[in-house]
């Protein structure tokens, strides 16, 4: 059992409240996943910079990491702290240098997510506490995805928390369990993808990254999941401009959505959606099994 929440805003007016809405939804899903929680928010950004969300695997201090990197390889690097994570904003031109510096000097630091607009936070603990620690309610953005985890396939660690991000501005959350993830992982590794965990969900995220890298659009890439991934899943996926939902062909895991003129919202249970503005008048529906749903910003 896990809980998923997702929000894709159509109305710009709601953008300042994205974090507050998502935070409230995440809290309600605590019952379904009290082990850990995480979320990705697509906020401000521009095409010339990359935001790297960092955390220390060992809980070490990373507050001064921007200065340390700048001192060695130059800058400019902007950094902002949110709970135990740091978001490092680096010009695209030196992104690889920054990553190389981290690999060489700070083996304890994980790049949790990277994107022109995406920031990604996750931690062990009750979802409402996790949302509080990262001050999710103060975040603005166009879309966001959150997850509350009850661990089944791998340990309760921050590494095993969702969302998983395996490509720039890409993230995926999952309710369910995959049964062929080891085989798929081996194939992806042969094609050069790298993995940070043994988690089945990371394989699904990497599979999508691999398909998108081949030039597939989000819709086609998700359709390919239906034939290549075996097991139970409800996926909610975020990209720089897109928001997508896919359930396995027997719809093993619950899902409900609400759509209004202002937003599209996803919840594992309807309870997660009741706090949203105007939800009483929303079109409420269950995404159909084996059907890809994609919403794109224009």
């Amino acid at each position: 059992m896990c809980g998923i929440v997702g929000l894709f805003l159509k109305s710009r007016m709601l953008e300042p409240q994205l974090g507050a809405m998502l935070s409230q939804m995440l809290g309600v899903m605590t019952d379904r996943g009290p082990d850990s929680a995480g979320f990705a928010v697509y906020g401000a950004g521009d095409g010339s910079h990359i935001k790297l969300t960092l955390r220390s695997n060992l809980g070490n201090d990373i507050d001064t990491i921007a200065d340390e990197i700048s001192a060695d390889i130059g800058g400019p690097l902007a950094s902002s702290k949110r709970g135990s994570h740091i978001v490092l904003t680096t010009p695209k031109s030196i992104e690889q240098k920054v990553r190389d510096w981290l690999a060489a000097n700070r083996a304890d630091v994980r790049v949790v997510g990277a994107g022109s607009r995406m920031e990604l936070y996750k931690e062990v603990g009750l979802p409402s506490d996790v949302a509080e620690r990262f001050a999710l309610k103060d975040m603005a953005g166009t879309h966001g995805i959150g997850h509350t985890r009850m661990a089944t396939e791998s340990a309760v660690t921050t590494d095993g928390a969702h969302p998983f991000s395996t490509g720039v501005d890409q993230c995926l959350v999952h309710n369910g369990s995959l049964s062929n993830h080891n085989g798929v992982r081996r194939n992806l590794q042969r094609d050069g993808l790298t993995f940070q965990t043994e988690n089945d969900t990371e394989v699904a995220a990497a599979y999508l990254t691999w398909r998108l890298r081949q030039g597939m659009d989000l819709n086609t890439a998700l359709e390919a999941c239906l034939s290549d991934l075996d097991g139970f899943y409800t996926f909610v996926v975020g990209t720089e401009s897109g928001f997508a939902v896919l359930r396995d062909p027997i719809a093993c895991k619950p899902a409900v959505m609400a759509e209004t003129d202002d937003y599209v919202a996803f919840g594992t249970e309807y309870r997660a959606l009741v706090g949203l503005p105007g939800v009483e008048q929303a079109r409420v529906f269950e995404p159909e099994p084996a059907k890809v749903y994609v919403w794109e910003r224009h």
Binding site: I250, A251, P254, V256, E269, Y270, R271, A272, L273, V274, E280, V284, F285, E286, E288, P289
Partner: protein, 228 residues
């Protein structure tokens, strides 16, 4: 009439009050406000009362119901009317998976659509769905009638026993051991009675096809091994 607002009354308090009701009560009309998708609303009621729920409910609403008439002015989550024994549950919106699962009696009316596994293992309940039903509906259905005004998804009636499945629209596919049958006059009357109780008397029973068990999987037979 008693009105309970679940925005400020604990659900257990509502259910405890409903469980105290019996055939002698004059308190026969209940209104439940702000269900807010909560699970197990009005579960286990055993009294001839009417309960009107204003909004969407979560899982297992009206489960195990006996005698009561429950009207949900919204959508229902997984397992609405699960194992209901008698009475009536009327959902004005859509129902999620496993609506009426294992139901033994009474009438479940869904004005909208029902998703996967509607009427799974039904054991005597009558279910009327005015929209369409999802895949694997009436899986291992044992007794009762499932009436669908719209279409049915894949594998309808897989491993069915003696339930009757009346579908007016298209059936995507039939499950193992489920076949089309010719309705008897008695079965046609049974269908007409359910349509009438659900306020669909203008629809002719002749518009439906009947599906039921080929009775080939009841006992192990080596020729059927590939179907098990």
């Amino acid at each position: 009439m008693s009105t309970v607002d679940l925005a400020n009354t604990p659900l257990r308090e509502l259910n405890a009050a409903l469980h105290k009701l019996n055939g002698q009560t004059n308190d026969t009309h209940w209104e439940v406000r702000n269900p807010l998708g909560k699970h197990a609303v009005a579960v286990g009621v055993d009294a001839p009362v009417t309960i009107e729920i204003d909004g969407h409910v979560g899982y297992y609403c009206g489960g195990m119901n006996k005698q009561a008439r429950i009207v949900i002015d919204g959508n229902a989550g997984v397992g609405v009317g699960e194992n209901m024994m008698s009475g009536e549950i009327h959902i004005k919106g859509d129902a999620s998976q496993a609506a009426g699962a294992t139901g033994r009696g009474g009438l479940l009316i869904i004005d909208g659509n029902a998703s996967a596994r509607c009427g799974i293992s039904m054991k005597g309940i009558d279910i009327l769905v005015k929209g369409s039903i999802g895949p694997m509906s009436a899986f291992m259905a044992q007794a009762g009638n499932l009436v669908v005004l719209g279409d049915a998804g894949e594998a309808l009636g897989d491993s069915i026993y003696e339930a009757r499945l009346f579908v007016r629209g298209k059936v995507k596919s039939l499950g193992a051991d489920c076949i089309e049958k010719t309705p008897t006059a008695e079965e046609r009357d049974m269908l007409a009675a359910i349509l009438k109780r659900g306020g669909c008397e203008s629809i002719s029973p002749d518009e439906f096809r009947l599906y039921g068990s080929a009775r080939k999987l009841y006992n192990f037979h080596i020729d059927n091994v590939s179907s098990y």
